[in-house]
Structures are given as C-alpha cells and as structure tokens.
Amino acid sequence: MTKVTESVAIDHGLKKEEFSKICELLKRIPNITELAIFSAMWNEHCSYKSSRKHLKKLHTSGKQVIQGPGENAGIVDVGDNDAIVFKIESHNHPSFIEPYQGAATGVGGIMRDVFTMGARPIANLNSIHFGSTQHKKTKNLLRGVVKGIGGYGNCIGVPIIGGQTSFDDSYNGNILVNAMTLGLVNKNKIFYSKAAGLNKPVIYVGSKTGRDGIHGASMASATFDDKIEEKKPTVQVGDPFTEKLLLEACLELMSDNSIIAIQDMGAAGLTSSSVEMASKGNLGIELNLSKVPCRENKMSPYEIMLSESQERMLIILESGKEDHAKKIFDKWNLDFAVIGKTNNSNKIELIFDNSKVAEIPIDLLAEKAPVYDRKWKKTKLPQKLKFDKDNFKSLSVSNCLKKILSNPNISEKKWIWDQYDHTVMGDTIQKPGGDAGVVRIHGTKKAIAASIDSSASYCYSHPLTGGKQVVCESWRNLISVGAQPIAITNCLNFGNPEKEKNMGEFVECVEGIAEASKYLDFPVVSGNVSFYNETKDKGIKPTPAIGGVGLLKDYKNMLTMDFKKVGNIVFVIGKTEGHLDQSIFAKDILNEKKGPPPSINLFNEKNIGETLLKLIEKKLIHSCHDVSLGGILTAVSKMCIMGNKGLKINNFKELTNKYEYFFGEDQARYIVEISKDNIQKIVEILNNNSVHFDDLGVIQEKNLTFNGDINLPIEELSDTHKYWLKEYMNN
C-alpha cells in the first residue's frame, strides 16, 4: 500500500495546509484510501470551499419553494400536488478532454439528480460555450458535445427543449457544458438524501463499478495545462440505456414506501454519496466494499471509493424490504447489492476482505471541511463610450442587420437542435428556437416553460450588473412565452478562485444574481459552481448560466415569437435609450469591446414584466419576444423570419439615432404583436402602469422596410440568419 506523505497528498490535489489539518483532525496520518476520501470530499467541486461563504447571499426562499439549495435538486410547487424538480450542472472539464463522453455523462448526471428525488424527467436544456470559431478545436468540440448531449438525451427519451450556444475566445482552452433537467413529482412523494434509522440496509444499485472517472472531481477542481490529454481516463463513460433502466426501476421502487433515502453516485462516486447521506442524517455508515459489484478484476478500496462510473445509486431501505426491491432491479436487469448498514458511530467505516480499511468521522468530511474566505477584487464600472456621428457615417442599417443576424452568437442553431429529440413524450408545445421551451404537464391544462441564459460579455465588463442582467433575461424569456416566472437554478462558471480578479468576478456576479432574484421574487433553488476554468493562466469570462422555470396555468395561452397576421400592430414595450457599449453592434460592427453593459433597473424590469403578463392574461398579445442581443431590429427580424411576414417600421420621434435605437441593448424591453382593435385597451393599461412603449410599425407581407433605409425581403434575412452554423459545420 502506498505510504501517505505530504507529496502524495499534494498529488491528490490537497494543499499542504489541508494535509496538516487532516492529520491534526484525525490525530494520525490517514492511509491511502482515507486520503483519497478526504481529497474527494475536500476538493472545490464537492466542498464548495471557495464559494460557500458567498452562496449564502443568494435569495433561496419563496412561497412556491418546496426545496432550496442543498439537496440533489431544487423543487417548486406548481399547484394540484404537482411539483417541478430542477437543477443545472456543469461538465466543463471532462467535455474539453473528451467532448462526447463529457457532455453525455453531464446529461446523465443531472437527470439522476432529478429522478433521485422521485421525479420523472420531462425536459432537458443545455448551455454550451466554445472558443473562437477560428480556433482549431472548436468545430470538433462542438460536434462532439452536441452528439454527446443528443446521444444520451435521445436514448433516455426526455425531450431537449431549449438551450444556448455561444462562441468567444475566452473559451478556447476551456469550453463550458452546462446541462439542466426538469422533472415532475407529486409533492407528497418526494425523496431526499437524508439517512434515518439505525441498522438500515445500504443498497447499491445500477451499473457495476469500474476504473473510469477515478479522480474526476479532483480533475474538475484544477486548472488545465499542456498535459490535459493525459487526463482522459478521469472522464467517465456513459451508458444511457442503463440510465433508462435505472430511471424506470427507481421510479417503480419509489411507488411504495420502501426507500428511506436515496442519492445518486455523481462526483466522487460512492464516497460522496455515502458521506452525504450519513452526514445529513447525523448517522454513521459501514460499507463492505467486497460486496460492491465491480466490472473489473482486483479493484482496490481506493479505486472503488473514487470511481465515478455512471448510472449508480445508493439507497437506504426500510429493513425487510430488500427482497421486494431486489425483484424490481432484477426485472430491469440491474445490479443490486446490500453493501452496508447505518449505525450510530457517526463515522464512515470501510471493510474490505474482512478487514477495516478506513475509518473517518463523518464531520471531518462534511462540516469540518475547509471553508475559505478568499481575497477578491471589485470590478469598477467602465467609463461609458462616446460614439459620435462619424462612427456611423460609412454604415448602412441593412448591412449591419445582415451581419448581426449571421453572427455566430445570434445565428439560428437549428443544426444543433435537429440532432436533439425535442418531441418525445408528446407534450412539447414550444420547441427550441423560441424564447423558452415549453412542455405540458401531462394530462393537465398546465405547462412548464424553461429557459437558459448567460451573458459573459456583460459579466466580464461589470460582474455586478452582469449577474443582475442574466436573472432579468431569464425572467423576460419566461414572460415572453406567457409564463409566470417561478424560480431559477444557477450554474456558476468561473476561472481560478485563487486569483483575486476571478474571485471578485464570482462574488459580484453572485451578489448581482442575489439582488435581482430577490427583487423579482425569483429565488434560486439549486445550482452548481465550476471554478478553475482556466488553461495556462488564461481563464474564461465569468459565465453564470441561469436556468429559469415558469408556469402557464393554461397552455392554450402560450405565446410564440412568430408574427401572426398582416395588418397587426407592433409595439416596443419598455424604454429605448440606445445603449451600444458591449452590444453585438459595438463589437461586431464598430469593433469596440470596451464600455459598461446596459444598466439594470429592477423596478422597471418588474413593473414592465408584470404589466405585460396582465396583457397576456387578457389575451391581448398575439406574439412576443424579448429584446436582447442585437437590439430591436434583430428581435423583430427573428419574429419576421419565424412568421414569414414583413414589418413596416414607422418613422417616429424616438428615432434620433437609428443605430442606437435599432441595435442598442437596453434592458427590460419586449416586442409585442397586437391587433388594431385592442390598441386603446392596451395603451390604457400601459399608461396606468407607467410603462413606456413605442408604436414601432405594422406587419406586412414579405419585406422588412423602414423609410428608404431598409427594404429587405424576409427570405433574404432568413437565409442570412439560418446559413452560418450549417455552413460552418459542413466545411
């Protein structure tokens, strides 16, 4: 057996001081298996040691919240005993090393988090970010990630209803793959991971344990260097077929009262699942590792405890239910083994070949794990840029629009979602490509909307504003499909927390998220932190991804963004100041990357959103789309393209600088289609609520027109918008 020394500990990703602390707490030097357990539980990924202090600032409660952060996933009440279980999780590091398996197992992992709680997954989403489109790895990484997400999700038979894809240099060495799952559960039949009761059998179910994914969680808690290819064996290998069986078997067993607690084996596998269950239940746990079903010969306790083989669950059963449970898992051809029991020792004790191979008090792995108050630096709000008329002289609005519509971050992503099964389960009523994906709650009038958003440029420029902005964007996307926003899950992707700048970005983004979610009563119920997205000293832009969930009480009231009827009127709801700094227009057309992001006014955001929901409820809105990247003209172009209709834009007084008006990225704005007959009613409601609006124009056949400046056939805009990604991937 390897002798444990400080250098062995450092090789396991522990710091020198952390190793001393372990020896001090344990009052001895740990053996190699124990060291492995400490390294797995004390790494950033599992312990949240850098983030914990700041995550406490998040707003996590609300009248619909059944379960906030700290469990496998968050849960919200959507009425009639229905509850939605949801969470987002990152699989960034593995996906860069091995895109297919990395992305696939990311999807598998997040689905397990959801069905562990007794919920049947009903929708998946993802947020994926790649390096520059010119970077040599980007195309293969994109292809691999999309295939991995599809390969896993399609096989399980859960629709992928939405997502987000972006390209930016800062992801050249660290791509981001965040996966989100929503599940449906009866609120009286939720399962938790808290162990309870003494001498209860601890059951291992699912796939056999292999040597894949060993040190996965530690790998995800470190930065990358030139030798990342050597880390391939730390990437887990997924088997969606087994996951499908595990899903069905677990839900079958959950239909009665056999299960006391259940936890999936995700990051740090058997180690973290057993420790977390015991820790939450304030109990001890004894595991006989010789009984763990293994896929390979002669696996050591060290390997068994660190393996991140997929599709495995740990269950604490009611005594006497073993045979009943085994029958179900036999039916689904899955491994089932009683591998231990709960006790009152408050320790984790491991037996292998009839001798004790590890014994650690649980609290040393949980509460006593290190928590750091890392130094961080505030980001000053950049000076606002001054664009003068000369900047715009040589431009044409039409050409700018076409360039923006074909920008990699704006262009249509059909090439991606065509590879995802988005209609299985027969309840997808809004497919990818809209503001939010929508699935009906099967057999009811209700539907759930979900959206996933991030704005790395805004967050990089000013993290506090960026953090607020992402929450608002999510809120807007849900409202745009007619849903009442309920709650969010966040995936916090950042660079190296040991650097003051990166840590500062994290702290201020979190504070921004907290402030906006509190103001909008849009609580954070689950999430995940991914630090160390850094390669050779170059970190990613701060990229908190927000997964928002909303409810439509009657799915027949759902809105889509496509323009519906020639002759209908189009309003811009919310005020346009013409903020160009950090906009796609500034970056792509003026080549200007400085300046602050658009400011966030939470009062307006809330007031405008709620007023719009009133209009939607009264069925006065026929189509709706929020204004985001690319501004008003980009937003209306998408509505024209999707509805295959044109728009005649009025020449009105707000239009002092058409570039600022058309491409500015001011927040809290929506484009809505209304019928002429309702104008008076709508204007009255908007005025009564002090909501600013512009009468933008009228829907017409075929062309987008404005004065003599724009006259573009929709077909041309559509081709421009749809062309880029397909062309890029096929070349």
Partner: protein
Amino acid sequence: MKSSVIIFPGSNCDRDMDVALKKFGFKNKMVWHNDQSIPKSDLIVLPGGFSYGDYLRCGSIASKSKIIKSVIDFANSGGLVLGICNGFQILTETGLLPGILQHNKYLNFICKNVFIKVKNKNNKYFKNIKKEILELHIAHNEGNFFCNEKELKILEDNNQIAVTYCDSDGLENDENNPNGTIKNIAGIFNKSKNVLGMMPHPERMIDKYLSGEDGSLFFENLLGNLK
C-alpha cells in the same frame, strides 16, 4: 378495438403510443418483453426508442426477445403489426419486413417535421385516409432504409412501399430525403400488408398544440378501418 404495445427495455415512445391509441378509442394494454404471450388484440404496436440500448444493431436484440415469437405468430396469422421507428427496425430484424435501416446519410440524429406521401391505400392502415400527403415527425439516427435490387423490385411489384418522404406538394426527390433512404422510402408493408414499419411518429402529432395533427388522421382512420 383492442391493441397491445410491447415494452422492451429501452423503449421510450411506449407511453406516447399508449396515449395516442387510447385517445382515438383503442383499448390498449402494455406488454412486457419478458411475457410469454400477448393479450387478444386487433393491433400490436412495437414502439420507438432504443430497445436493449440499440446495442449490436438497432432492433436485433429485441428480435430475439421472449415476446417476439408471439408477435411473429400473430403477424403470420394475418394480425396487424405496426412498428414505428425502433419498431420498424425490429420488424426488419425479425424478417417480417425485408431490408435494413442504416445510419442516416450524414451520420447525425435527425429530429424534425417531414412530409410523407401515402403510396398504397389498399390496406387497413391507409384505406380511406383523407390526405395523400401527411406531415409527421421523425426522430432517429438509423432511418436510412436499404435493400438489394431484387428485394426492391419485389417491394415495388407487390405495392409494398407504404410511405415515402416528399415535400408539401408530394414531390419526392433527394432534397426531401432526410436520411439517404433508398427511393425516399419512409415505411413499407409485408406482402399481405398487415405488417407496417415506418420511421415517422404519428403518435407525436395528435393535437394542434404539438408539431401538427396529421397523426390524428392516421389513428382515426386506422380505427375506422378496423371496425
């Protein structure tokens, strides 16, 4: 009318099919792959999904499952057997239908709406159907039908080609062929037209809030023909 949907481990359109059949008036039962026999049925459906993980080859393990002998016997005695997507793949593996389903031409999974043209109405599935061209949904990785020339000639001579991919006007060409399938074939019959395998999913198009409603036409018509 009574129907049975077979559930294999890895099937994932079984529930959707159950919902659709019941919606249009079938009394449907779900049958587990390890069962010995199938309840008395007017229609047996092999649903979509990834039976046995699609390992070895799509549909091949399912074609050796315990229940499949009853399915084959039922088909050989003239009973209606409908295989959708993975069900179609299973039917070719059992030999009830000729040919095979290869990887899609561009090796990508495809999920989208397509138009299909009904090529033969002289059977229980499509007799009296109100539209010649249906808009249905496909979602598959291996839907590229292939058979040798001799088999193709037999298919054509016996009017066994059930549905083909086309555009909204019924034009069948390469542009409207989503996966590289031979002769734009989206679905075929056996010789006596009681067994139908097709890649498109009618069960995903059964109300106007979904991708479309032409699936409803298919099921309503089928039920009407069985009465």
